[in-house]
């Protein structure tokens, strides 16, 4: 049920400050797209415009279109709450609900949306935890608080929580930046599995990671500090890392700046 994302002419502001300007791109369903670029280039901001999380920040507003299978997320009559159900998100730092058990964390999204029987909930929680490669590690302590897990486990718990509501798209904002290498590897493996079912967009600072997990890579940059970030190019990952068409991309990838 993965969906395609079609962005055209998207500009986002924080108050009067323009954070990103005139971004257009297409993200294919059942693929992994990585966003790379120097700090402050707006890739996280752009990611957050894809599920209308940007407007949660005080002063945040957006111009332009984001089509999710031909439906504009910013069209009139669109309910941002419904958008976020369709487009799930995993954050930089693992953020399980601290007062909830592992089970309740995964079930949290489902419980929002009506009445599930206990057995149904059990099934979905198990399926989601398996989908996040966490089931074997936590199946004996589902009623313990989620905050007792290790960082990597917590992040996979957050992924399980996000996929439990069966979103069409999964956004990941530097999901491994707070994790150790082994946990990072586990998440990267997981991303490879999840792309069979979801459209995945991932922001990363780690270019090897982008090269390892993504099918397509988008490079963002900004002309100077205080200037809005722009999309420089988007292409197949292989091409971006071997033979990019823009000089700035090559400079960035080969470590000549940023």
């Amino acid at each position: 049920m993965a969906k395609r994302i079609d962005v055209s002419g998207l500009t986002a502001y924080y108050g009067s400050h323009k954070a990103i300007e005139d971004i257009s791109m297409t993200v294919e369903p059942r693929s992994v797209t990585a966003f790379i670029g120097p700090s402050g280039c707006g890739k996280s901001t752009f990611l957050r415009t894809l599920n209308r999380m940007h407007e949660v920040t005080p002063g945040g507003r957006v111009e332009g279109k984001v089509l999710l299978d031909d439906e504009d997320l910013y069209g009139t009559g669109i309910d941002p709450v419904a958008v976020r159900r369709e487009v799930g998100m995993v954050f930089q730092r693992p953020n399980p609900f601290p007062t909830m058990s592992i089970f309740d964390n995964v079930a949290a999204g489902l419980r929002l949306n009506g009445n599930y029987k206990k057995s149904e909930l059990n099934d979905v929680v198990e399926k989601s935890l398996k989908g996040a490669n966490l089931w074997n590690e936590v199946k004996d302590r589902l009623n313990k608080p989620g905050s007792g897990l290790s960082g990597g486990q917590q992040q996979r718990l957050c992924i399980a929580r996000a996929i439990a509501v069966e979103p069409k798209v999964l956004l990941m904002d530097e999901p491994c930046s707070a994790l150790d290498p082994i946990s990072t590897l586990a998440i990267e493996d997981l991303i490879g599995e999840l792309k069979e079912r979801f459209t995945i967009v991932i922001v990363t600072h780690n270019m090897q990671q982008a090269a390892r997990v993504s099918d397509r890579t988008a490079f963002f940059n900004l002309a100077a500090v205080g200037q809005p970030g722009r999309l420089i190019e988007i292409d197949d990952t292989e091409r971006i890392f071997s033979n990019p068409s823009v000089q700035a991309t090559e400079d960035y990838i080969s470590g000549r700046f940023g």
Partner: protein, 353 residues
């Protein structure tokens, strides 16, 4: 817009039928109109009644309409929103009423004569007289309390932040917290028990002692917070230059945080200036001018308000004086608050968020 929302409801999961943005205002206006209408029809006179009816209608109406159009979850969200707004309005009403009444009734007799004359030759039930003696009493009592309470409070805070390790500091911290919660009347009773033992008659300074007890924990808390804001690097830099610790505190730590400490002390002064209960027990009240806080009963502004209210047998003149004195007291407290906030903003450490 609404037709599109309805027709698309099946086609898309992203579109929820949503109420237009003016809906809450419309429901609010409707509820108020209905509330007044129902109250008028039923012959209810109290504004509290019709406000309650209107508030109830607003919350219920919001739920009903939203549940029908947008669904249960959105309805619950809207009810929470409207309850929060109603709570806010409910909290503002008494404040507005209080300020309004105090100003409206207070200005009736508040003039230069009122501020410069005592109640010495005026019976409580008759018009005339003033609050000069009460202002003198208040200033002296609060001033003496500050002279005692502020240094002890600041020094205790210095001890807790700069020296305090171990059990003594823990005990002091805990009891400062507990002391914050002592009812003012209990502080008054404490001094009263001493006065009973030493067979003393009421006098101004006894009130000051009780007020100082009430003031100390407030000053300790605020000063502590301010001292904690001073970065450790500053202290270390000074110590590393060979400056002794006490001079480091006096020359580096205190000057850095003096703005915040002053603010805290002023807020504490504002708080004790309005205390009535200990003054009632210890200073007793006096219609005449008594400039000596160490001998004989004195008046004070809050006590004056209470006595004008309580001893006047419903006389309008006494109520007018009570309101005028309230206005004076509120003005004094508010000015202290404003100045304190001004100092806090002016001297605020630049590291704040």
């Amino acid at each position: 817009m609404s037709t599109a929302a309805v027709t698309d409801k099946r086609a898309s999961s992203l579109r929820g039928a949503s109420l237009p943005t003016w809906t809450p205002w419309a429901i609010a206006a409707g509820s108020i109109a209905l509330g007044i209408g129902i109250s008028a029809a039923a012959g209810l006179h109290s504004s509290i009644q019709w406000a309650l009816i209107a508030g109830l209608l607003f919350v219920l109406g919001t739920y009903g309409i939203a549940a029908r159009v947008e669904g249960r979850r959105q309805a619950r969200d809207r009810v929470a929103t409207s309850f929060v707004w109603v709570a806010f309005v409910v909290a503002v009403v008494p404040l507005v009423s209080l300020i309004w009444v105090t100003v409206a009734r207070g200005v009736k007799v508040l003039d230069l004569y009122f501020l410069t004359h005592s109640m010495g030759v005026v019976a409580d039930t008759e018009p005339g007289g003033g609050i000069y003696h009460a202002i003198i009493g208040s200033l002296e009592q609060v001033g003496l309390a500050t002279v005692i309470g502020a240094p002890i409070g600041v020094l205790t805070a210095i001890y807790l932040v700069e020296y305090g390790r171990g059990r003594l500091a823990k005990a002091v911290t805990f009891f400062v917290d507990v002391m914050t919660g002592i009812p003012s009347i209990v502080a008054g009773l404490f001094i009263l028990s001493l006065m009973l033992i030493f067979k003393m008659e009421p006098f101004g300074f006894a009130g000051s002692l009780a007020l100082a007890i009430l003031m100390m924990p407030v000053v300790v808390r605020s000063t502590e917070e301010m001292l904690k804001l001073v970065p450790n690097e500053l202290r270390e830099a000074s110590l590393a230059l060979g400056v002794p610790k006490w001079r480091t505190i006096l020359k580096v730590v205190l000057p850095t945080s003096i703005g915040g400490i002053t603010t805290g002390v002023m807020l504490a002064v504002a708080r004790i200036a309005g205390e009535t209960a200990p003054v009632l027990l210890l200073v007793f009240g006096n219609p005449f001018i008594n400039n000596n806080p160490f001998e004989g009963a004195q008046a004070s502004l809050p006590l004056y308000i209470y006595q004008q209210f309580a001893n006047s047998a419903g006389s309008g003149a006494a109520y007018d004086r009570a309101w005028a004195a309230s206005l004076t007291l509120i003005a004094f407290v508010m000015i202290l608050n404003l100045v304190a906030r001004g100092i806090a903003r002016w001297k605020a450490p630049k590291t704040g968020r």
